[in-house]
Symmetry: none
Subunit: 136 residues, 4 copies
């Protein structure tokens, strides 16, 4: 899980997403302690202030909490984690569907499109196969 931070979006935003993904995908377990701000900052090659800001924001979502003097921990409340994950999935799905609908596709065209893309990237190593495309 390297830290691939691009410069086209705020860095702290990308850090939040990275940590959130790590937590919700199970890389960190409920109740587990996060590395310190300094450690994380060094690991990500980022200013500690930036990492601090990201963690503060992440705390507002409720999936991590601060123990005064001993550090930050993943919440033990799996319901919170579960709900958060579900929310992100819903958002991803909704965003994806709307994106395609804005391009003029119907609901029932989306699944086939996705299936085809998955097959293609699976077989051909994620290189897009420029088949002819219906316009519009």
């Amino acid at each position: 899980m390297p830290w691939e931070l691009k410069q086209d979006r705020p860095i702290f935003t990308q850090i939040i997403e990275k940590l959130q993904n790590d937590i919700l995908s199970g890389a960190y377990l409920p109740g587990e302690r996060l590395p310190s701000v300094r450690e994380l900052a060094q690991e990500a090659a980022v200013n500690p202030n930036t990492m601090q800001k990201a963690l503060a924001r992440l705390e507002q979502t409720g999936i991590v909490y601060t123990q005064r003097t001993s550090g930050r921990f993943i919440t033990e409340d799996t319901a919170v984690l579960c709900a958060r994950k579900e929310m992100l999935v819903e958002e991803a799905v909704a965003g994806f569907v709307e994106e395609l609908r804005n391009l003029g596709f119907q609901r029932d065209e989306i699944i086939p499109l996705l299936e085809e893309a998955l097959h293609r990237s699976h077989e051909e190593g994620s290189l897009p196969a420029y088949r002819s495309f219906p316009y519009p």
Copy 2:
């Protein structure tokens, strides 16, 4: 086709996407003339310079071109439109897949997830049904 411009991203970016979607979904046809900068700016309730910037960027993608004193037109080259549309679809799919994979899902879980979400929003009027969610 209302102009729903939010404040969380640059306005000119949203304008580009809006116009691109309108063009690629067939709301504007190949060769058709776009409204003037001033008209579009007024319609979107935006400063003409902002609209100008958006259109200039859009032009660099090749799906519109400028005729010096008579306005901007959609390209007649449907191959360009087609390729652009395909590219956007590929990006949308790739982004969606990576988002879910970052959340810990496997390739073969994505299609069922999408199917379920589509059924749910179809039957229940797009309100997310907070069923229990597996964690992680």
Copy 3:
């Protein structure tokens, strides 16, 4: 000699250059009558006003003159034509040399560069051969 008018520069400017080139390269001879504004405008698929403007400007250089009711003619004064041609050549050379000098080349590097480019485009059909290039 087709009329290839691009839209990135004023059209009347391109017309002036086209006519000037035709005259100085001998396509029109000294004393010869130019086609009428309407003919030229139709041939170039341009608004007659635009052609008119171009011809008026061209007249200011002295290489064409107007005979009240019978049309426009190339000057018979070959000295004028000669001087004009020489001026354009000087400008072209000076512009080319300065362009390359601005890119960091020395005087004595220019000739070899041009020779090589001419050979290349002659042998390989004007396709640029991307040999390695010294930087800077």
Copy 4:
């Protein structure tokens, strides 16, 4: 390296060319930081927005990149710089050759013409010597 901005072409275009020349001729080195937008704008006696526009365009060529809050830098990828330089040279040569061909010269007349012009400007201090010129 003074800023000689004329009024006959868009200022931001001239700025782009100036910076590009400075970069490709080695006045700025790969990886080096450019002055800030505000500094450059003041130096060129231009509105910061104009300078901003020029730099944004220049960035699209890939020879400079932006680090979100620390400034703009010359790319370290010398291959990009090299390719860009070569491209500009090719364009300059092609433009020069076509200009002369449009004036009626043959391929093999171009080199002698350039040689003579270089000698003349070298010996006589760049003042064009109006020797008699063959017509056409």
